[in-house]
Amino acid sequence: MKEFTYQKAADVPGAVALLGADPDARFLAGGTNLVDLMKSGVERPARLVDVRELPLDRIETTADDGLRIGATVTNSDLAAHPEVRRRYPVLTQAVLAGASGQLRNMATVGGNLLQRTRCAYFTDLTKPCNKRDPGSGCPAIRGEHHNHAVLGASSHCVAVHPSDMAVALAALDGVVHYETADGPGEVPIGWLYLPVAETPHRETALPPGALITHLTLPPSPVAAHSRYRKVRERASYAFAIGSIAAALDVRDGVVHDARVAFGAVASRPWRARAAERILIGAQAVTETFGAAADAEMAAARPLAHNAYKVTLMRNLTVAVLGELAEEAGR
């Protein structure tokens, strides 16, 4: 780790000004990913601007009855918040499915969205990686990739996004709000993460130097009937190999509304819009759920060792939508 300077930001404009346009500067919040990456040498900032104590740590109901979630709200506080538990249970479940109690107490909402992939080639400086070192190659494609992407990847990168929280936010149509030296901006979660294409090192649509200030969740009646299920190679404290965030509104046996997003299958949380199109208006039965999953996974391009994810995501979709439909029928 190289030496760095450290400054604590007093307010949002100050934080943005302190960072400026310096490519060697980074915002530091919970640190659970950045500090680790600095230790492994993936990140070598010369300056850190600490934003953890900025007054962005509140969760409030918005005028339109949605939620506004500050960027420095910790994962723990987000998961435990009464309004989140009541109205967006999928979000609480997704957050609680990630990391550990200690890490959730440190990690912030803004940082969670911007965490980097855990691809073992990305975090190992002795190996090539297009995301870390553009143009060096992607050894995962012919190497160890059993937990890599089956959707939306490219021949340049097959890494997956590690966040659980972001999968729920994708299903909930969350919007990311940020501040720059030129003023504020916003971007829906669905547009936050750029397509991999030939530039896997360009991960988000945020302008350089932007500071995430908060998220907004629109009011979502369907979200009250929602669920997150995560499959991993250990019962807890492990990243997903496949996950689903789903919300289902069933009336008289017909799907009135649905939200589905997949995790650990792509470089970003994967909103399953093809699946949603099949679901809405169809009978809430197993066949529909299977057809919805098949419609979404039709685009899957598995590698030699991760084709199981296609089966896994189908099975997860059928299982979780089935559970939600059964609860709706009670």
């Binding site: 780790m1 190289k2 030496e3 040498g41 855990r118 073992a120 080639y121 190992d124 002795t126 190996k127 050894p139 012919r142 190497g143 160890e144 059993h146 499959v231 991993r232 190679e233 250990r234 019962a235 807890s236 404290y237 492990a238 990243f239 190999i241 496949g242 060792h305 991760n306 199981y308 089966t311 896994l312 099975n315 997860l316 059928v318 299982a319």
Partner: protein, 708 residues
């Protein structure tokens, strides 16, 4: 008070629960481990490891690094002290050249130590080590471990590579039922929670090492040999050791620390990072095992063939002797067992908890389960039908074999009698349920040790022995043993260990530590009691006796000496997601006299949880193109955590060893033996699908279901 009271203490300490004598220090954070002992003028060393998989070092750019803030030295093959490596050490093994650091320019694998950077602070050392540029001449490498390798060759290790009895092929041909299956286990790592750490310093011509190891005597002997020192001038201390599991012998970091302390003439600490442990701490080789069983229709074995292949480095022969367990467990008219290795461009493996038995019992006990299914015989009945009267291969008598009692007691407590043998028929919501069992054995031995006991004038006794308490509870066990031997309350016993100054002693390894040390304590206590006449005056310096068990242990007759056990597991499998959860587990063991039931339970269940972890989680991955480990951290290498561990019980049947002064056999390793097989057998019972490759990952369950 000047008179002793060696008689009149009625309580038997051995066999009763006793909290760890150092427990308060451990729960308050006062217990200091090797990297935590402060030294004035301490310098910090950071190892630089090879990124090349095979080749030689062309150049090391030391100058820019030496100019960095705080950097004191860069040690490498061009300037390092020359070491002596042609010797056979205390455990009958030659040194792994990996620990004889910086002796030449050859690079035999990724993660090979190529330099040590020493600086004033750890931050400076780390940054300088990362900045050090090393140029390699790379050569083609091979890290792919596959069966049928023509270069495989038999290696003896701690047992003969090959044993034979009878005519295997004829018996197989005459068998009504034959199982022929291949089983694989992956590369596994010890990963004690405390990373390897050592501080070396010279003090008035004596080398002092504060270290985390499994045996101070062992480390002294290895260092003295390597550095051509008089063993009397080397002292190794390790008061608290944060786990070992076979990985904490002499490793590169201790040797590098001694070199640096010698060059700089100030204390130098070297601590391995978790990532470095993946290539420098040893590991368990992956195995490919073929088991052939031939049986009569009722399951009586006519033929047992177990062939195991493991992998070693190109610099050191180490064999994972997986086929050995078959030589102990089951009778058959014909037996063939062999352990072979292939050399690849990988780090040297080493002993890891139940070396051989852990992977070997997975293959053998899974194969027996397959035979039980094919014969339509209950898995426990099948095993008891093949109980040997004497060593199946050796023909030697057993010094106690209580496997039957373990199975009977276990079956009763687990509810085995109610088990429906059909697979894939029990469901609880999304989960399919199944149960499985497996047998276990592990060698019971003792090795020479010395101990010193001093009777103090105040009526207390100090026991000094170069034992290592790596978490086994040895310090407490020896306290109980000494208390009984001296017939005093445990509060009057102080056990001092983890210091080579106390004289030669066995390592904490091979499940032999507590037994070997207890023997020495018993011998010393016996002699001391003879010297202490009731009512006599104890001089201020106390009365000290010293024991040496070399002769007593050499006098033990050759027998089949083992602990035994029966493992039971219940699992739940969601075949839609591939998730496997262990719901409950029970192990019943015949493992000698249990000294401290409180800590013994932890030894057994700890081993059983290693079995869960081995069955479902553990697997080190390696990139074949670059040759190095992938995901070399505790997020990439999964060990079981709290949520993976269900209700788990361990208990034991009465099984004292009559030839041991205390009756001990040893309990450190048997808990893992058979545990992974019990889980895998339960997965079959739940789903009807055999998993012959560990770990049983979700993707494997999903793929197997799809193919079924």
């Amino acid at each position: 008070m000047t008179s002793t009271s060696v008689k009149g203490a009625p309580v038997r300490a051995v066999g009763t629960k006793h909290v760890r004598v150092e427990g308060r220090d451990k729960v308050t954070g006062k217990a200091r481990y090797a990297g935590e002992v402060p030294f004035a003028h301490l310098a910090h060393g950071w190892l630089v490891l090879s990124s090349a998989a095979r080749g030689r070092i062309e150049a090391i750019e030391t100058e820019p690094v030496l100019a960095m803030p705080g950097v004191l030295a860069v040690l490498h093959h061009g300037n390092a002290l020359r070491l002596h490596t042609d010797f056979v050490g205390m455990l009958g093994t030659r040194p792994d050249p990996t620990c004889a650091v910086f002796q030449n320019d050859k690079v035999p694998h990724v993660g090979w130590p190529v330099a040590l950077v020493v600086a004033e602070t750890p931050e400076q050392a780390r940054e300088a080590a990362e900045a050090l540029v090393v140029h390699y001449e790379q050569q083609p490498h091979d890290v792919e471990f596959t069966g049928g390798d023509p270069n495989a060759y038999p290696v003896d290790g701690h047992m003969p590579a090959v044993t034979d009895k009878g005519d295997l092929e004829s018996e197989l041909a005459a068998s009504a039922v034959v199982i022929d299956a291949e089983y694989t286990t992956p590369e596994e790592h010890h990963h004690p929670m405390e990373p390897h750490a050592a501080t070396a310093r010279w003090d008035d011509g004596r080398l002092e090492l504060t270290d985390s190891n499994q045996g101070a005597t062992w480390v002294v002997a290895e260092l003295a040999n390597l550095f051509s020192l008089d063993p009397e001038s080397v002292r190794v201390r390790s008061e608290h050791v944060g786990g070992g599991f076979g990985s904490k012998g002499v490793r590169a970091h201790q040797v590098a620390a001694v070199m640096a302390a010698t060059v700089l003439q100030r204390p130098v600490r070297v601590v391995l990072t978790r990532r470095q442990m993946f290539t420098l701490a040893g590991h368990r080789s992956p195995t490919i095992q073929r088991v052939r069983l031939g049986a009569d229709p009722d399951g009586r074995l006519r033929a047992l063939d177990h062939r195991a292949l493991s992998r070693t480095s190109t610099v050191y022969d180490f064999v994972e002797p997986s086929a050995g367990v078959a030589r102990v467990m089951y009778d058959a008219d014909a037996h063939h067992t062999e352990n072979q290795v292939v050399r690849l461009d990988v780090p040297s493996p080493t002993w890891m908890r139940a070396p051989g038995e852990a992977p070997g019992s997975f293959a053998l006990e899974a194969a027996l389960d397959e035979l039980a299914e094919k014969c339509g015989v209950d898995p426990i009945a099948l095993r008891l039908r093949n109980e040997p009267e004497k060593g199946p291969v050796s023909g030697l008598p057993f010094a106690g074999r209580n496997l039957r009692a373990c199975f009977e007691e276990g079956a009763r407590r687990f509810g085995w009698a109610e088990r429906d043998p059909r697979p894939g028929v029990r469901r609880d919501g999304r989960w399919l349920l199944g149960t499985g069992t497996a047998g276990a054995s592990f060698g019971a031995g003792a090795a020479p040790s010395t101990a010193t006991i001093t009777a103090q004038a105040d009526g207390s006794f100090t026991v000094s022995i170069a034992a290592a308490d790596i978490g086994t509870g040895a310090r407490t066990a020896l306290t109980l043993v000494a208390a009984d031997a001296l017939e005093v309350p445990t509060g009057r016993i102080l056990v001092r260990l983890g210091d080579s100054a106390y004289g030669p002693a066995m390592i904490a390894g091979g499940s032999m530590g507590t037994r070997s040390w207890s023997w020495a304590v018993m011998a010393a206590a016996g002699e001391l009691r003879e010297r202490l006449v009731p009512g006599m005056e104890i001089p201020p310096q106390g009365i000290t006796v010293r024991s040496d068990t070399t002769e007593a242990i050499a006098a033990l007759a050759r027998k089949e000496r083992h602990s035994f056990g029966a493992q039971f597991a219940e699992v739940a499998v969601d075949t839609a997601t591939g998730e496997v959860r262990v719901r409950r587990m029970l192990g019943i063991f015949a493992a000698g006299r249990i000294v401290n039931p409180l800590t013994a339970k932890g030894q057994f269940t700890g081993g059983m949880i290693w079995g869960i972890s081995m069955a479902l989680h553990e697997e080190a991955r390696r990139d074949t193109v670059y040759g190095g480990p992938l995901g070399a951290d505790l997020a990439g290498y999964h060990i079981a955590t709290h949520a993976d561990v269900p209700r788990i019980e361990a208990d034991w049947v009465d099984d004292p060893d009559p030839e041991d002064p205390v009756g001990i056999k040893g309990i450190g390793e048997i808990g893992i033996v058979g545990a992974a097989a019990a889980v895998a057998n339960a997965v079959w019972h739940a789903t009807g699908v055999r998993h012959r490759s560990l770990p049983i990952r979700p993707d494997r369950v999903l793929t197997a279901v799809r193919l079924a």
